[in-house]
């Protein structure tokens, strides 16, 4: 039988409805569609897709289980490698990873691996997650700093290995970017909480309101614990550094999204935290963070929501699905356009942004073509709110307070492949080590470090780097 060329569609909310609510956009596959999609998989012997998976899931293995209708077994296969499948099944850039290497891509669309992962994770959650199996206690204690995907994954794996794990989190809620950054309509917080509950069931304790470096130092943790994993993420928002950026109405994407996602400002005044947007909102940048901000603005009632980006559409770093969804929802893309000044009225409220048109020159260090301003091409756009989403730098708090720790040029912590820093017993991973990257890479880093930490705690051997 010939293979069907296209993925089975995943039903989703219609654009004109969904821009009025914060409910999740796709509904996910039903059982029959999942089985049909799973049957598209060729079960290649060399498993090319697996090479694209930072957490090494046996992809053809779990897909085979789905095709056979054994969803429980599929869940076991995934969970043996990935503690947070309901999250990665929603936010992974599959097209660049597993699906990008799928053999069927040669003739059509790859197998919907992400959709299938999501289906299994949701199936398992609805059914009630099984109590995980733990090894017997090793008597070793470990401290994880930060409860984003890197910290949670590392914590879960170490707990399964039988270690006593404590996570220290600066905020009042777990999840890092999963909680404060990625909006409800893309990753429901109920799902993040369920994933966190699973980690807690493994015996992991999460301590909130602990800002490591301030409330307690990393050195103090190292005295009390056998190893430490730093997973504090890339939380430092970058700004454009142009005139008028401190006017009322200009937010960093982090502030805007945190108010809405973590503090639930979209439910103000039931919740106490406010957020203010006007009729016209402009988001600067074209990554996932920018798409999330622009789409959130629409849901808060903006009449017009722009994405303003200095390069062209091929360079946009966001996931395809996000760009697609944003376009369907009516986000206006102004590409090859760069802001040069914000203007306000006499009360200090933002009223306009002045932009300049760009063209693309030769590739820069990132390999993308460098945008160059076109002289005399300025234009003024009237806006009420600006959201700056041009990237985040590694969180500087721990590097600043732990002087001996080796840091790289951009402020990220230097590590080897397994997350070892220059200080014995101290590991780091996720965005704090790589710079802003992806959920799955952060999870992969947490996984590798968990293995290395386990080995270190058992042997106390610290490989000396040349």
């Amino acid at each position: 039988m010939a293979v069907r060329k296209n993925k089975y569609e995943m039903p989703e909310q219609k654009p004109k409805n969904r821009i009025n609510n914060f409910n999740e956009v796709p509904y996910g596959y039903d059982e029959q569609t999942a089985i049909d999609e799973a049957k598209r998989c060729l079960q290649c012997k060399n498993k090319p897709c697996m090479q694209g998976c930072p957490v090494e899931i046996d992809i053809p293995g779990f897909i085979k289980c789905i095709a056979d209708g054994d969803f429980d077994k599929a869940a076991d296969v995934i969970k043996s490698k990935n503690s947070l499948p309901a999250v990665s099944g929603r936010v992974c850039p599959y097209e660049e990873q597993c699906e990008g290497l799928c053999t069927i891509k040669k003739i059509g669309e790859p197998v919907g691996i992400g959709r299938l992962e999501r289906f299994i994770a949701d199936y398992e959650r609805k059914k009630g997650v099984k109590k995980p199996i733990k090894k017997k206690s090793t008597g070793k204690k470990t401290a994880i700093i930060g409860s984003g995907p890197a910290g949670l994954t590392c914590a879960g794996d170490l707990a399964k290995m039988g270690h006593e794990v404590t996570v220290f989190e600066a905020f009042h809620a777990p999840g890092g970017v999963l909680m404060y950054g990625i909006p409800e309509f893309r990753l429901p917080k109920e799902i993040v909480n369920a994933e966190v509950d699973y980690i807690k069931k493994l015996g992991v304790e999460i301590k909130y309101d602990v800002v490591v470096g301030k409330t307690i130092s990393t050195e103090e943790l190292l005295d009390e614990y056998d190893s430490v994993f730093i997973a504090t993420g890339a939380g430092l928002p970058r700004f454009l550094n142009i005139p008028g950026e401190n006017l009322d109405g200009v937010y960093s994407a982090n502030e805007f999204l945190t108010r809405i996602n973590m503090m639930k400002a979209y439910k103000f005044p039931e919740y106490d935290t406010p957020v203010k947007i006007g009729e016209v909102v402009a988001t600067f940048g074209a990554g996932n963070v920018a798409m999330d901000s622009a789409r959130t603005a629409l849901r808060l009632g903006a009449k017009k929501s722009y994405i303003i980006y200095r390069r062209s559409d091929v360079e946009m770093p966001a996931r395809n699905e996000e760009i697609q969804h944003a376009k369907e929802e009516g986000i206006i893309f102004k590409l090859l356009t760069n802001p040069i000044e914000f203007k306000g009225n006499d009360k200090g409220y933002l009223t306009q942004v002045k932009c300049i048109k760009m063209k693309l020159g030769d590739p820069d260090e990132s390999g993308r073509r460098r945008p160059i301003p076109i002289p005399d091409s300025e234009e003024i756009i009237n806006i009420d709110t600006a959201i700056i989403a041009i990237g985040q730098s590694p969180n500087p708090l721990i590097p600043q307070t732990m002087k001996k720790l080796k840091i790289q040029k951009w402020g990220n912590i230097e590590t080897d492949e397994d997350g070892r820093t220059n200080i014995p017993g101290v590991f780091a991973g996720g965005d704090i080590a790589t710079g802003a990257a992806t959920v799955i890479l952060a999870m992969g880093a947490g996984k590798r470090s968990a293995r290395a930490m386990d080995e270190y705690m058992k042997t106390k051997i610290w490989p000396i780097k040349k």
Partner: protein, 275 residues
């Protein structure tokens, strides 16, 4: 959960609370602040540390009931729990022996000044304090402060206590009397800090102010607390809250502090209607 172990009413709208938070108490230093959230639906607000006791594991906060959250906090009593209480945040004051220091506190700004006064006195400075408020009912910690300083001056807008006028008038007098002043600390309403900084700039007296912009996380993650200092954008929660008063753009701070005024009023009204 962080229990309130003691509550005192300092005036009709100003309350003092001692909160059990051993980890914060252990590390707290003068000039730093905490972020608290009362309950699940609460917002995160910063409050400067007014005192701490490492043995008891308590941190003292003093606040004026101005917005929805501080009003709600004001209704809580001994034994109640605050859901989140994170800190100590921000940089601590740079305490050393400067010589003669003038510490100026306006209104509820007197509270965060108190630990700084104590620390400066302990460091061997000659400490002159100027406390100001609208009227005498809004003055606080007068007794505690008088025990920890060498000179105490008071100014009230209505003359109900001390000099009738502003703290800056007292400072001007000190300067006119040829008092040698090595450094000034000023904490209070933005307008007060601005006036003091403008005055000391004329005489080239170094002046430290403590800024109170709107915050969310308090850890440098959102940039909501950004202020302009010396033409550069700084995050008050991690780079401050204390800055060189001669370099701060106070007008921008006033403007940014008005950002959510209308929402704040709406929340307050809701709070009053429901409580």
């Amino acid at each position: 959960m962080y229990p309130i172990v003691e509550k005192k009413k300092l005036s009709e709208t100003v309350k003092l609370m001692k909160v059990k938070a051993p980890l914060v108490a252990k590390k707290a230093k003068a000039g730093q602040f905490i972020i608290l959230r009362i309950d699940e639906k609460g917002e995160r607000i910063p409050l400067t540390i007014a005192d701490y006791n490492r043995n008891e594991g308590t941190v003292t906060i003093i606040f004026m009931e101005v917005g929805k959250t501080t009003k709600q906090l004001g209704t809580m009593i001994e034994g109640d729990n605050i859901l989140n209480f994170a800190g100590p945040l921000g940089k601590s004051s740079e305490i050393e022996n400067y010589g003669t220091v003038v510490c100026i506190g306006g209104g509820v700004g007197i509270a965060p000044l108190y630990p700084i006064i104590k620390a400066l006195k302990e460091a061997g400075n000659y400490v002159i304090c100027i406390l100001g408020a609208r009227d005498k009912s809004l003055l606080m910690l007068e007794e505690e402060i008088s025990k920890n300083c060498d000179e105490l001056h008071i100014a009230t807008d209505d003359g109900s206590k001390g000099l009738k006028g502003f703290v800056s008038d007292v400072l001007q007098k000190l300067i006119d009397n040829d008092k040698k002043i090595d450094i000034v600390w000023a904490i209070g309403p933005v307008i007060m800090m601005k006036v003091v900084a403008n005055l000391t700039k004329k005489y080239d007296i170094k002046t430290i102010v403590s800024l109170n912009p709107i915050m969310v996380d308090g850890t440098g993650m959102c940039g909501g607390c950004r202020v302009e200092v010396g033409g550069k954008t700084k995050f008050a929660c991690v780079d401050g809250p204390e800055f060189d008063g001669h370099k701060v753009d106070f007008n921008n701070l006033m403007l940014r502090n008005r950002r959510f005024l209308r929402d704040e009023e709406e929340a307050c009204k809701m709070h009053e209607e429901t409580s």
